[in-house]
Every structure is written in C-alpha cells, then in structure tokens.
C-alpha cells in the first residue's frame, strides 16, 4: 500500500507507507460502508429483495454499515495523523506503521464477521461483542505501543521539541492508553449514559461534553501538523482555548444526571456551542495549509458551521420534541459524519500526504458528487423528519411522498458511493503493480 506520486522536480516522491496505507484502508472501508448503505437504501424501497440476504438480515448489515464507517473511515485517517505527530514514520517504528494499519483493518474484518453472524452488544456505536470485543482493544493497544516507541525515540534522539509539545504528546499517550480499556468496558452490557427523560436521548450536558471533545480534537490537530501563518491574529489561539476551558467548566457545573432538554441549563449549555461556528473557521485560518487542501478545507468549514448551527437549533425545547427519533436527526448525524467529518478527513489526508492525497480526493466531479449528495440527503431528511414529527407513521406507512423520499435517498446514496469509488480507484491506481515497478526504480535509484 505504498503510495508514489510524480513530482516534476524530483521524479517520484515516496509517501510515508504508514500514512498512505491508513488513507487507502480508510477509503476502502468508506467504499464498503457506502456500498452497504446503498444496498440498505434499496432494500427500503424494494423490501422484497430482503429475502436475498438470508441469515444476513437488514439489521445485521446496518451494524456493519455504521461501524465500518465510524471505526474504518473516520478513525484510520486520524491514525495517519498520529503517526505523523508522534514521528512514527521515522526510525525503527516506521516499519511497524503499516502493520498497525493492517491490524486495525483485521479487527474491523473480525467485527464485521461478528455483526453479520449476529453478535452484538446492543449498544449503537459500541457494538464490539464476543471475540472482537477483545481483538479490537488489543489492536488499539498495539497501535499505542508503536506511538509510544516513536515518542520515546523522538524524545531521546529527535530534534529538541518544546516542553509544551512533549507534555502534550505524553498526555495524549496517557489518554490513548485508556481508550482500549474504555472501549472494552463500554461495550459490555452494563452502564448506559444519562438519559433525557423527555426524549430518551442524551442529555444536554452529555451533548455538550462530547461536542467539546470534538472541539478539543479540532483545536489540537492543526498544532500537530501545521504552522501559524498569521502572527497578527494570534489572539484567536488563546481566545479559542479560553472559551473551551470556560465551556468545560460549564459542562462540569451542569453535572451528570438524567435531565430534560427543557431545563434551561441544558439547552443553554448546548446553545453555547454556537460560538464555535465562528471560532473554528477563524482558528483554522490562522494556520498555513497546503494549497491543495483549499477545496476540502472550505467544505469542512461550511459543513462545520451548518453542523453547529443546526445542532444548537435541534436541541431547543419544542424543536427536539418534534425531531427526536425522526429522519431529521438522522440527517443531522449525516451532516456530522458524511459532511463535516468526511470533508475534514479528506482535508487532513491531503495535508499529511500532499500530492498523493490531492490525487486521491481532488477530482472535481467526485468532490461535488459527494458534497451535493450529502447536502441533498440532509435537506430531504430534514423535511421528512419535520413531517414525521407530526405524523410518526410517515416513514412506515406507504404513500407516494414516502416512496419518493426513499428513492431520492437511493439516488443520493448512489452519488456518495460513486464519489468514494472514484477515490478508491485513484488509490488503487497509485498503489497498483505499475507503482510497484516505480517503487523498484526509485529504490534502485536511491541505492
């Protein structure tokens, strides 16, 4: 899975095998997830086709669909990021980056087999059960070992880094070490987050907490891979971190307990996130990014603003009551994962791999097919969610409007799948046997 791109000045340029294989594996999981998603959308409009599936029923495929997108597509690019930040692509750990990525994919294969065979924890997005509940955390631990070794090597022989960077990386390692154990424990049948009694969903405090976690990641990532280009506007940096700390304190003050979204503290807490609709774009504009990232960076920021604003609105009393359990919130989730996060991951991968990533993601048609497909899906789901809020039977009682909505979902899914196939084929083109020949040539030349 080694990637090579042609560079006009230097001939063929090698891309880090760890990062490029993380990108390729991520895209492969995205393509698989989208293929399954499209199949599920078709099954909704043609339920008779469900008999094709035999034991591998709709519900089981749904688990595979959601988990491979979350733990495959959304996670692997961030692993590439971690390789870069911890310097794992250099020295003795370089040869272990790609095996770590393969291991991650192996765990997802094991998980997919377990979901298809009917093993599930019953917890959405924490569906690790049986053997895969052990295998996946073990894989995470293996990845942690690679990062820890790279960190130790970096501290011992690498260029002198600032104490803040070393401390941050060490803190990051401590947090990452906890993740496998958290995943294992949280996937068990016991333990369930606090509930909003009026909706059955998460509380405002819980939403605020997880959103701040995402904001924390968004603020940290540029520090690991980009430099500041606008010293005159540096004030945004402390401002963003101060706001984050204040909101974290607010979150702590709200306390963890079952609580309704109608309690002012809960919805005001979530509404306070609106500030990030402006702060994150300003924060990201501080940094110098590769020119090739411009398209996806813009898309990410546009999706981010939409996500934050719609998220705050969706949680308001009255609005959440109407949208809970409906297509509207599914559309919101898609705004987060398919819109915002996907654009972000493409942007980060291009930043990490330069020309290689640009060749993967920067085709014009697939960029628009993806983003417009997601946008159409989100708009459709918001409208149908609004209808469903007043008429819960809308999605499961036949009718022209329902059927048209389902068919539009198929079309938008097809657009997204076509885009991901384009990225997959681009990845294959850059890692195929013809590239292996180039690889040999490069190696010979280097020797």
């Amino acid at each position: 899975m080694e990637g090579f791109v042609k560079n006009a000045e230097t001939g063929f340029e090698r891309v880090s095998p760890g990062v490029s294989s993380a990108a390729v594996h991520a895209i492969a999981w995205l393509t698989l997830g989208n293929t399954i998603g499209l199949m599920l959308a078709v099954l909704l409009v043609l339920p008779r086709l469900n008999s094709f599936l035999g034991e591998w029923t709709y519900g089981r495929w749904m688990m595979v669909h959601m988990n491979v997108l979350l733990f495959g597509w959304c996670s692997l690019p961030l692993i590439g990021f971690l390789f870069r930040v911890y310097g794992a692509e250099r020295g003795v750990t370089a040869q272990w980056c790609r095996p770590a990525v393969w291991l991650w994919s192996a765990a997802l294969v094991a998980g997919s087999c377990s979901w298809l065979s009917g093993e599930s924890s019953g917890k959405l997005f924490l569906d690790w059960s049986g053997y895969s509940r052990v295998f996946f955390p073990a894989v995470m631990f293996g990845l942690w070992v690679v990062l820890a070794l790279a960190f130790v090597r970096g501290v011992r022989i690498g260029p002198k880094a600032g104490w803040a960077a070393v401390t941050a990386k060490m803190l990051g390692l401590v947090i990452l070490l906890a993740v496998p154990f958290v995943i294992y424990t949280a996937s068990g049948p016991g333990g369930y987050p606090y509930i909003n009694p009026d909706t059955g969903g998460p509380t405002g405090q819980s939403q605020l907490e997880s959103s701040l976690g995402i904001v924390l990641l968004l603020l940290l990532l540029p520090l690991g891979i980009a430099s500041i280009k606008m010293p005159t506007r540096r004030g945004i940096l402390p401002l963003a971190w101060t706001v984050l700390i204040v909101q974290a304190m607010l979150c702590a003050a709200l306390g963890r307990a079952d609580a309704s979204h109608r309690a002012p503290g809960q919805w005001l807490g979530v509404s306070s996130l609106i500030v990030w609709a402006a702060l994150v774009p300003a924060y990201y504009n501080l940094f110098a990014w590769r020119a090739e990232t411009r398209r996806w960076r813009t898309a990410f920021l546009a999706w981010w603003i939409g996500l934050v604003v719609s998220g705050c609105i969706f949680f308001l009393p009255g609005v959440l009551d109407r949208f809970k359990f409906t297509d509207g919130l599914v559309g919101h989730s898609l705004t987060a994962v398919a819109g915002c996060l996907t654009a972000y991951l493409a942007f980060i991968l291009i930043e990490l791999t330069g020309d290689y990533g640009a060749r993967l993601f920067n085709a014009t048609w697939s960029f628009y097919a993806w983003n417009l497909g997601v946008l159409a899906y989100v708009l459709l789901m918001t409208v149908t969610g609004w209808i469903e809020g007043a008429h819960p039977e809308f999605t499961f009682v036949p009718g022209i409007a329902r059927n048209v909505a389902y068919w539009i979902r198929v079309l938008t899914g097809a657009a997204m799948l076509a885009a991901s196939l384009d990225w997959m084929l681009a990845a294959i083109r850059m890692t195929g046997p013809h590239v292996a020949a180039i690889s040999t040539a490069v190696d010979v030349e280097a020797a």
Binding site: L53, Y131, A138, L329
Partner: protein, 626 residues
C-alpha cells in the same frame, strides 16, 4: 475530428465485445440449446452436437492466430460475424441430427474466429483513452442486454434472430483503422500460465453452476424469478463489469480474478440449498462479470504480449482451453454430479487465490504475521476471560431479547415512549427512567423506521407478531419491514415473539386514556363510508375476508377467529361509532385483533362509519394488496 475518431474507436471495440458476448450468451449457450430441444435433438445426439460446437470453437481458436497475421483484421472480422449470423439464422430452420451438427460446428467456428480476431485487434479498436474500460463496458452491456426481461424470456427463435441481427449490425461497423505502431507492452500483469489456470477454474465453475441452475427447477425458479429479479441481475452484471474494468485498468488482474472466484464459489456453495438460491443469484452475476471482463482484457492488454501474433496465440490458448474445454468439463460436472462439490470449489479457489496470496504474503510478510499473531493472542485472551458469556439464557423472552439485539432491531425501532407527546396514546404507556436503566443494556435506539416497540406486547398478540415477522406485507401492505422468516427455521423466531410479547406493562391508566379517546368532530365530518370500504380492503380484509391471506394461513391459530364482514356489521350494530373507532385504533385486548394506531383520525372515523352501516351492496371478498 481526431478526438471524435478516437472516441469512435473506443466504442467500436466496446460494440464488438458486446456483440460477441451477446451471441455467445443468448444464442450459443441458450437459444441454440432450446432450438435443438424443439427439433427433438436430445440425449446422446445433443452431446454430439454440442461437441461439434466445441470442436469448431477449439479448432478456430487455435487456427486464428495463424490467420490474423496473414489476413486483414476487417476481413477476418467479417468472416467471423457472417459465420455466426449464418449459424443463428440456420438454427431457425427445422434441424435434423446431421444439420444440427453442421450448424453447431459453424457456430463454434464462427465464434472461435470472432473472439480471437476481436481480442487480438482490440488494442486498435478499443481506443487509446481507456481501452480496458471499453472492453468492460462491452462485456457489461452484453450481460445487461441478455438479462433484460424481454430478451431473456423471448422465444429461442427470437433470441437466435436477435443474435443474427447483432452480428449483421457488426458487419456494418467500420473495422479497418489506420495502422498504428505497436506500442511496447508492459510486463504481464499475471503470468500467462497462472492466468490460463485461473480462467479454466473460473469457466469450469461458471459452466457447472449455469448448467445446474438451468436443469434444476427449484434453482431456476429461485435464481431467475420475475422481471424485477432480471433487472437486478442486469444491473449487477453491468456494475460488476465496469468495476472489474476499472480495476483491470490498474492492472489488478489477481484482485479481479480473486473477487470472481470468491463470488462464484460462494454462489456454488449456496446453490447446494435451493432455499438459498436467491442469495446465490446475488453473487453469481457479479462473479461471472468479473472474470468475463478479465477474459477479454487479459489477453488483449495485460498478458505482456509483444506482437499481434503473440497476443492472438495467447488468446487462442485461453479460449480453446479455458473457454471451450473447461466449459465442457463444467457442463459434464453439472450433468453427472448435479452440484458443484465443495472440494472442487476449494480447489478452484486455491488455484486462483493461492498465487495471489503468496504474492501478498511475500510483499506483506510483516503485516500478515502481525495480524495473525494478534488475532491468535486475542483469541487466547478471549477464551481465558472469565466473564465471556457463553451460557444461553433460560427463559424464552430472555433469549428473544438477545435475538432482538443480534438482528439489530434497534436500528429501526425505538423502545421509548416520550411522555406528554403523541407517542403516549399511540404506543404508551410511559416507562420510568428507573425501569429503563434496569435493562441491560437499555434498547432505546435513536431512530424510528418502524413503530416504537416499548409496549408492543400490549398492542399485538403473539400470533400477530409471528405472522408479521414471517411476512410483514401480508399484515401491513407495502411495509418496508424485511421478512424474518429465517428466524423461524429454528427457535429464534419464537423466542423473539416471546420477548416482544413480554413488553407489556398492562397499565390501567393507559387503558383509561384509550377508553376516553374518540375522533374529534372534524374527523367525523371529513369521513365517509366509501373511504372506510377502501381502508377495509387495505388493512382489514387479510384477516376478516374469507379469502384473506392471513386468515387462511393462520386459521387454526387464532385465539378468537376474526369475524367475517356480516358478523362485523352485526357486532357494529351493537356499538356506537365512537366505540368502533376505539376498536379500530387500539384493537381488542386478549384477542389477535391489533390496533391501527398509524391510521389518521379521519381514516379511523371512516372505518367506523363503514362498519356501522348495514351492507347495502355485496361486501368485498378478496384482498387487494396483500
């Protein structure tokens, strides 16, 4: 102009590949056999006739390489197309045994000449921009056409005529193109011997599976059932062919062949059970299209051939041995064994996959070793963990809860009735948070693609639940709910029903709330008996009409046999419309009569009005949409 010409070049190649494949699929493999049957050629005579076709095919596959360097491409192409068209036309005549042999030999020879000529010259005819894609598009279109219901179900004579007409159309395609300098071919994407073996294994599998499906009524019914199914097959073929072409464009021959053998092998194994033939029909077309594109693209572009003659020679061997001989062997296997043995699937899989796996292991030794080691270690740890829940819950409802989790019901159904909302009357009563937290884990879900199930046991009887899980559309017309009949082959379905039936709190306040409900005045004003009659047909007749699907299927298991329309009207005469509306909306507790919470107030009022009216005209006795 030059660009337009280049584009035309590409489509010329695609069209020739499509014509060749359509001829082979719809005539040589299909219509001709049926025509022979119509002419009374059967048993041993049939085998001889087919052997004549194979002999013609093998002979001209091996002869044509010598011809391609002596004769112009256009001339050979015309000869091949004309021979094929003539054979198809001759097959329309009443054939006796010797005539059948002659026509079969002509068809095989024409096909041999045509395939080798097309493949040998494809680099010229498939354009420069994306020749492999053009080959894939041609193959995909051919499979698509053959699966179009009108073509697939046409009479053998019509199919033969179509094949002849397509060949005639091929004669009109300008075949001569300007001589272009032979571009030095890159190294073979897969060694020729391995490719030959792989193609032979794949064609053998395909031919055996095809023959078995054709000659087993249950499998044929399961794999080609109805127009929708044929359109689905056509789309799968086309999509797989294009995908294969895109992969082959990146020289991923091993990957494409591996995908083909996995799909075909899996389909062959599924075919062992006729009840799984529907699933097999999902994988079979994908596998076939994958290798069919490779069968054209490999000898034409990816075999590392250094000259036209070399390319023709390799194509000749592939089509003679892997195409004709392996196909005959596959048919023989189908005839004698009636199934593709698992051992043979394993051998075919090994032939195709092992070289690819060895290459992978050679180039990715560290990755494979780490993954294997970690998998084993994780397995050991998992087995050593004391908390590994192996024990099967004793109670049916507990086991059913596990089935609910395993099947991912949570993806579409919530179990949470929101207080103070319309949920409460529709799906209530509300559970306390303490009750929810006591569940391990709570199954609240986050999405309703179907109704909330927190109190499903209060609203539906076990019989209703079972009938609905087996055939959702029989009770809820056009329901998007998938059938879970598969769960009732063992005890899982009954366990699931037991679990769902247990989701009932029998709350008296809820019963009072339902008893107090009646449609608002505005609903009565907009309601009509005509609407009620339509709604009856749609939602009620399946249980209440004498010919209703559910009534007939589950007749012996109703705890209160559903009233027929006269009895319903008699019952209605003793109750007020408001009471009837409550029955329609909430059902009758303790019976199999379900509620219809999803109907609007106006619809419920219409049904109540219709029920309360004496039948002035004959009542509908047949179901409309179940």
């Amino acid at each position: 102009m030059r660009r337009a010409s280049e584009r035309l070049d590409g489509w010329r190649g695609a069209a020739l590949v499509a014509i060749t494949y359509v001829y082979f699929l719809i005539f040589a493999q299909f219509a001709f056999l049926a025509r022979l049957g119509e002419c009374g050629v059967a048993e041993t005579a049939l085998k001889t006739v087919m052997a004549a076709m194979a002999a013609g095919g093998v002979l001209f596959s091996l002869l044509t390489p010598a011809l391609v360097i002596r004769f112009a491409a256009a001339r050979l192409l015309r000869f091949g197309l004309a021979a094929c068209a003539l054979a198809a036309l001759l097959s329309l005549a009443p054939l006796n045994y010797p005539a059948a042999i002659a026509v079969a030999f002509l068809a095989g020879s024409g096909l041999g000449l045509l395939t080798i000529t097309v493949v040998s010259h494809l680099p010229r005819w498939a354009g420069r921009r994306n020749p492999v894609l053009m080959a894939g598009v041609g193959a995909g279109i051919a499979y698509f056409i053959c699966n179009v219901p009108a073509v697939f179900t046409a009479s053998p004579s019509s199919q033969a005529l179509l094949a002849a007409l397509l060949c005639a159309a091929g004669l009109l395609l300008p075949a001569e193109v300007a001589e272009t300098e032979e571009v030095p071919a890159p190294a073979a994407a897969l060694s020729f011997r391995l490719a030959l073996l792989s193609f032979a294994a794949l064609v053998w599998l395909d031919s055996a599976a095809f023959y078995i499906i054709q000659h087993t009524a249950a499998l044929k019914a399961g794999t080609w059932m109805g127009d929708l199914h044929l359109w689905a097959n056509a789309c799968i073929h086309l999509a797989a062919a294009i995908l294969a072409a895109l992969l082959l464009g990146s020289r991923r021959v091993s990957l494409v062949l591996a995908a083909a053998v996995l799909a075909l092998g899996f389909a062959c194994i599924l075919l062992h059970r006729p009840d799984l033939s529907l699933s097999a029909s999902l994988f079979y077309p994908a596998g076939v299209s994958f290798y069919s594109v490779a069968l054209v693209a490999y000898p034409a572009f990816l075999s590392g051939s250094v000259s036209l003659r070399d390319r023709a020679r390799r194509a000749g061997w592939i089509y003679a041995l892997a195409g004709w001989v392996a196909s005959a062997l596959g048919i023989g296997m189908g005839q004698h064994l009636g199934e593709v043995p698992v051992l043979f699937v394993a051998i075919a899989g090994a032939v195709v996959l092992v070289p690819a796996l060895l290459i992978l292991l050679h180039t990715r030794t560290r990755e494979a070793a780490v993954a294997a080691l970690a998998a084993v270690l994780a397995f050991i740890v998992w087995r050593m963990l004391p908390a590994t829940p192996i024990a099967v819950p004793a109670a049916a409802a507990e086991r059913g809860r596990q089935v609910y989790i395993s099947e991912g019901c949570i993806s579409c159904h919530s179990q949470y009735v929101r207080p103070g909302t319309a949920d409460q009357l529709m799906w209530g009563p509300v559970q306390s948070l303490e009750q929810v937290h006591q569940q391990s884990p709570p199954l609240i879900g986050n999405r309703r693609q179907g109704p909330d199930l927190a109190e499903i046991g209060s609203r539906r009887s076990p019989l209703w639940l079972k009938a609905h899980l087996i055939a959702p559309a029989s009770l809820s017309s056009d329901s998007p709910m998938p059938s879970y009949a598969v769960l009732f082959r063992d005890g899982r379905g009954d366990d699931l029903v037991a679990y769902m039936a247990s989701l009932a709190s029998r709350d008296s306040a809820q019963a009072q709330m339902q008893a107090a409900w009646q449609p608002p005045e505005i609903a009565w004003q907009s309601a009509s008996a005509d609407d009620g009659a339509t709604l009856y047909k749609r939602h009620c007749s399946t249980c209440h009409d004498s010919g209703g699907e559910v009534r007939q299927q589950w007749a012996a298991q109703f705890n209160h046999f559903p009233k027929d329309p006269p009895a319903m009207h008699a019952y209605a005469g003793k109750h007020s419309r408001a009471q009837l509306a409550q029955v329609v909306r909430f059902g009758i507790a303790g019976t199999d009569m379900p509620g219809h919470e999803f109907l609007s107030e106006g619809e419920i009022a219409s049904l109540a009005i219709w029920l309360s009216q004496s039948p002035a005209q004959p009542l509908p006795l047949t179901t409309e949409t179940h």
